[in-house]
């Protein structure tokens, strides 16, 4: 018998190439106009990293509106599955941001306090990134298990462009560093209501 398991919703996005290109172009433009900011924002670390502002779904661009719909839809699917539906589209607050991680960048262990559901999808990863680099890792939320001698490893999820996950905001997670040329780019969000 398995008790108190934690659910994570996995998604595979379709036809997102243009959307991803628009997001990346916007974020890189934002970074270029703020070259000395947001390298160590929140959990993000690394000299060649950038954490965008968290307004990506609140901008007056078509791609921003599409992004909001997408984030709402996949979060809503998870919430329905968990039996705690979220309010309608207009009544939720969504914060959404992009993380650009160059060589050596990583994200420290963190959760997303104050939110109910969170998620991430991956836009781009370095080619041939080894299996033990750049993974998104959930830490065991069971404190007793974490301190037992049979402690389970965290659960690592390999970032694949166009794939994503939705999870409870209280789940602690981190991103392993990668040491490849190229950038690992992801979009994350929080939903609150």
């Amino acid at each position: 018998m398995e008790l108190f398991a934690t659910h994570v919703h996995t998604v595979e996005l379709k036809d997102t190439e243009t959307l991803f290109d628009d997001i990346i172009a916007h974020v890189k433009n934002e970074r270029d106009t703020n070259p000395n900011e947001n390298r160590h924002m929140y959990s993000l670390n690394g000299e060649d990293s950038y954490h965008s502002r968290d307004n990506l779904v609140n901008l007056d661009y078509e791609w921003s509106k599409m992004l909001r719909s997408l984030v709402y839809k996949i979060s809503s699917d998870f919430a329905e599955y968990e039996g705690t539906p979220i309010p309608k589209y207009e009544d939720v607050d969504i914060n959404c941001w992009c993380m650009v991680m160059g060589r050596g960048s990583f994200s420290m262990s963190h959760s997303h306090p104050g939110a109910e559901y969170s998620g991430v999808f991956w836009l781009q990863t370095p080619e041939n990134m080894p299996g033990n680099q750049g993974n998104f890792v959930f830490q065991d939320p069971r404190m007793g298990a974490r301190y037992s001698i049979h402690k389970p490893e965290g659960t690592a999820i390999k970032p694949i462009p166009s794939n994503g996950i939705v999870f409870w905001s209280w789940m602690e997670h981190f991103v392993q560093p990668h040491y490849c040329e190229g950038e690992r780019i992801s979009v994350s969000w929080n939903i609150n209501f």
Binding site: F138, R142, M143, W170
Partner: protein, 197 residues
Amino acid sequence: MIIFPTEVEFFGVNPEKNMPFFNEVIDYLYEEEKESTGGRKYSIRGDNSYHSKDILCKLDFDWSRMLAGLIWQSSSNYFMKYHGRPMPSLESCNITCWGMIMRTGGSSAVHCHPHSNVSGVLWIKVPPELKSPEGDFVFIDPRPRALLDKNALFLEKHSIFPKTGSGIVFPSWMDHYVEPHHCEGERISIAWNVDFF
């Protein structure tokens, strides 16, 4: 995707066939209680409850050796199933095992079994009138952060109604407690820890 489940395994012995064995354990507990001048009560609550010494598997009686064998086997099955490797032999494990007699009003406060690997409980006597949730063995959600969900007023629980001859094996770190019962009769259980490195 489901991650970080906590594994609990049921096991059972035939209660009728094992009644003589259970009675020997119970008789020993009564004798020990009669001679007891008090000792640590650990989690047990109730002014007429009794927590035995934790040496039930280390006594020079056939029933004690049987008990050690049963505990090792059920714990070993659990360990192999969920950890994918065999548990050390009976001789290489340290098994501490005790009895809990809960009479009307008796219960057990929330606790876990620190510094052990695998724990378990076997119910050897249950009041005939007992009805859930009285006397239930209850696990508490081991994910404290799950309380941060705005829909969570309390941590989730999973209750198990005790039946004579049935038992469970679980990771020692899992918090649990026993609901009080208010009917007449004794609820007697054997609990244990298996330690190894």
